[in-house]
């Protein structure tokens, strides 16, 4: 054991009788807000919209067409996606050039930062209480897809909206296994660091478009 560790732990241990859970005061359970699934959807949409995200409620079959329209509205003609999206988005190819992520970010940072205007990702689930989208990036959908390009399009399944973060963690047993990186996204990147004035697109995506699939 290195000495800093030993010293710190020794100082801390000197002060304490071993804590037993039984001796600790009971922690009150915060009463969760009760919402129906429909109300969850409504709250999710409202909070995200309040946070400056654009939410489009669509049917599964409309994903590709919606992507195409929203890119064309923004004069964007290329889209980066994870490998899992290539088939589903095939119909937009031709008008929009579809690229999958590089074999590795190493050596490709310059192009990623400077030449990718938009990316699309899926999501693991979502949270109504805070209007958050939950991503577990992986090899097919790397972390920087939802971070570096200025426009992030994210597909969320309406059926995967949980009531709140605590419930989600327990139901999905997150404590047993977490990915390299899990991230909750609740709007486009923003800052109020200059005179408390809100500005979007600080470092992450300036725009967040949520395709909420029924």
């Amino acid at each position: 054991m290195n000495s800093a560790k030993a010293n710190i732990l020794a100082k801390l241990k000197m002060q304490l009788p071993a804590a037993t859970d039984a001796a600790l005061p009971a922690e009150p359970a915060a009463a969760p807000e009760v919402r129906s699934p429909a109300q969850n959807v409504e709250q999710f949409v409202r909070l995200l919209t309040d946070n400056h995200a654009e939410v489009m409620r669509i049917k599964r079959a409309e994903i590709a067409a919606s992507v195409k329209t929203l890119l064309q509205q923004r004069d964007i003609n290329q889209l980066m996606c994870g490998s899992g999206w290539v088939d589903a988005l095939q119909e937009i190819e031709g008008e929009i050039s579809l690229n999958t992520f590089y074999p590795s970010i190493d050596g490709n940072k310059d192009t990623l930062f400077n030449s990718v205007p938009a990316a699309i990702t899926g999501s693991r689930c979502a949270i109504a209480a805070t209007g958050s989208i939950v991503l577990w990036p992986d090899a097919s959908e790397p972390r920087s897809l939802s971070l570096v390009p200025p426009l992030h399009i994210v597909v969320v399944e309406q059926s995967a909206i949980y009531n709140d973060f605590g419930e989600l963690i327990r139901k999905q047993r997150w404590s047993e296994q977490l990915p390299t990186n899990a991230v909750l996204i609740s709007g486009p990147s923003k800052t109020a660091d200059i005179q408390q004035t809100l500005a979007y697109g600080a470092h992450g995506p300036r725009e967040l478009v949520v395709l909420l699939v029924e």
């Binding site: 930062f113 972390r143 004035t197 992450g204």
Partner: protein
């Protein structure tokens, strides 16, 4: 190591000197109307936001109680949780380093960077790295260390320190930022439009993320159960610096460990709502592994530096230990009438405001920070809003007590007894005699009322903005007695 060759220390001890200047700083900043206006405006904004984020007082109270108990439980188990955290993190492939002092932490970080031949570091917001003066240290080693949080970026450009733990550049208004950019960013077209200012910063920093060797961040919660580092942020720079460079180094205080993943949601909810009134931050980033086999991005190496820097001293005392419950939301400073008046820089410490007054003595010693505990009217606004219910006013009282302790008492806080002056101690002894002896007290009252014409017109700081009242012609006790006698006579 050559850091001591410079006259300015490149570790946390550099704040000892600035904390000693408290009184001078206060005088300087109180006399700056622009600064006072900036702070008042910012505090009004933040307190208002917070108020709106807690529509139900009952819900707020339940949640505060819950989070207070969570943090107390985690502190009671602190040594075992730290060991659990370390072993979990190492199982996950994240390397853990321990530092007792700020200098040790800086050395660890510099060596990690140098081992990678790194010369360019990008930093996410980390008050602990301010605590260690990491930027100074790395720069002295020839490593560029760039702040990327917009507020921190501005502050670094201005050669200043953060004046607030959540909103580092709160002391500047947009025209001051525009002036700063005009002086420092070539080709910047002068404007006070905030969107343009932010876009300018974004542009400058994107290139830096792209080419950095190492990213440094703080940590909001370190989860022992899963070995997970959690980061709360809005801008995305924290994600950038922990995703894009090949190495990510996180640094945090030992009190940031929580036992269970289940502890995180309530703490997160209280943190963002207390800090900026947001029900959640734009990003909540949970890091559990370095880049794994087959993954295409993310740092290949992740390190965590656990810093003590005086925390174990606070930990040793049951009352002072509550200081470590802090989740660094900034609500106490937002509601503090003293902070609102003097701003964050006057304190001379890394952490300003009420939390700064109670935590800095452990980091810098009570002697260097001896003016901080007394610089409070004990109005209680901080304790009322603190999400983890730290009794800040009581801890201030406790530190006052420590600072006037007589010599030879057992050591609780380094530098204790620093404010003890024989004359003052003698006066309080006398005062206590006076107030426990009815005869002497009555004589004193008699003298004061009969000698009221002796009341001076000037009495130090009091009469600089106020008049001094004269003792009444007759004290209450005499008037009451007369009244009773009159009645009996009737």
């Amino acid at each position: 190591m050559n850091t001591r060759a410079n006259t300015i220390a490149t570790d946390g001890s550099k704040y000892e000197a600035s904390a000693r200047q408290f009184r001078g700083n206060v005088a300087r900043d109180l006399a700056n109307p622009q600064l006072r206006e900036n702070f008042r405006g910012a505090m009004d904004y933040l307190t208002d936001k917070r108020r709106q984020a807690f529509p139900s007082e009952d819900e707020l109270e339940t949640l505060r109680r819950k989070c207070q108990l969570i943090k107390q439980r985690c502190l009671l188990k602190l040594p075992e949780l730290l060991e659990q955290l370390e072993s979990k993190l190492e199982q996950n492939g994240i390397q853990v380093h321990w530092a007792e002092t700020t200098a040790e932490a800086n050395t660890i970080i510099a060596e990690l960077i140098q081992r990678k031949n790194g010369t360019k570091v990008v930093k996410g917001k980390s008050m602990v790295s301010e605590e260690t003066a990491l930027n100074d240290h790395l720069q002295a080693q020839g490593i560029e260390c760039l702040e990327t949080d917009m507020g921190e970026y501005i502050v670094q450009m201005a050669g200043e320190h953060p004046s607030h733990i959540i909103m580092p550049a709160i002391h500047q208004n947009k025209s001051q930022v525009a002036d700063l950019f005009a002086h420092n960013i070539p080709g910047f077209d002068y404007t006070t439009d905030v969107d343009t200012l932010i876009r300018t910063g974004r542009q400058a920093l994107r290139d830096k993320f792209c080419h950095a060797d190492v990213g440094v961040t703080g940590v909001n919660f370190a989860v022992a159960e899963t070995g997970t580092l959690c980061l709360v942020e809005n801008e995305g720079n924290g994600r950038m610096v922990s995703t894009v460079p090949e190495m990510h180094i996180a640094i945090t205080g030992i009190e940031k460990v929580v036992e269970l993943l289940d502890d995180v949601p309530p703490l997160l909810s209280l943190l963002t709502r207390s800090a900026t009134g947001q029900i959640i931050s734009t990003y909540f980033n949970m890091i559990t592994h370095p880049r794994r086999e087959g993954e295409k991005d993310g740092p290949k190496e992740v390190h965590l530096v656990l810093l003590d820097n005086g925390r174990s001293q606070a930990f040793a005392d049951e009352e002072l230990r509550q200081t470590l419950q802090c989740i660094r939301c900034g609500a106490c400073m937002n509601h503090c009438p003293v902070y609102t008046r003097i701003g964050g820089h006057a304190y001379g410490t890394v952490y300003p405001g009420p939390i700064g007054k109670i935590v800095s003595p452990h980091m810098l010693g009570l002697e260097a920070t001896k003016d901080l505990p007394t610089a409070s009217s004990l109005c209680g606004a901080c304790g009322e809003v603190c999400p983890v219910k730290i009794p800040i006013p009581k801890i201030l009282l406790r530190l006052r007590k420590e600072s006037v302790k007589a010599k030879g008492e057992p050591l609780v806080v380094k530098g204790q007894g620093c404010n003890r002056k024989p004359l003052e101690a003698g006066i309080w002894k006398l005062w206590s005699r006076l107030n426990t002896s009815p005869v002497i007290y009555a004589i004193a009252m008699w003298l004061a009322s009969r000698g009221r014409w002796l009341t001076p017109a000037k009495a130090g700081a009091w009469t600089r903005v106020r008049t001094l009242p004269k003792p009444a012609r007759r004290p209450l006790r005499e008037l009451v007695k007369q009244r009773e006698q009159r009645r009996e006579g009737q």
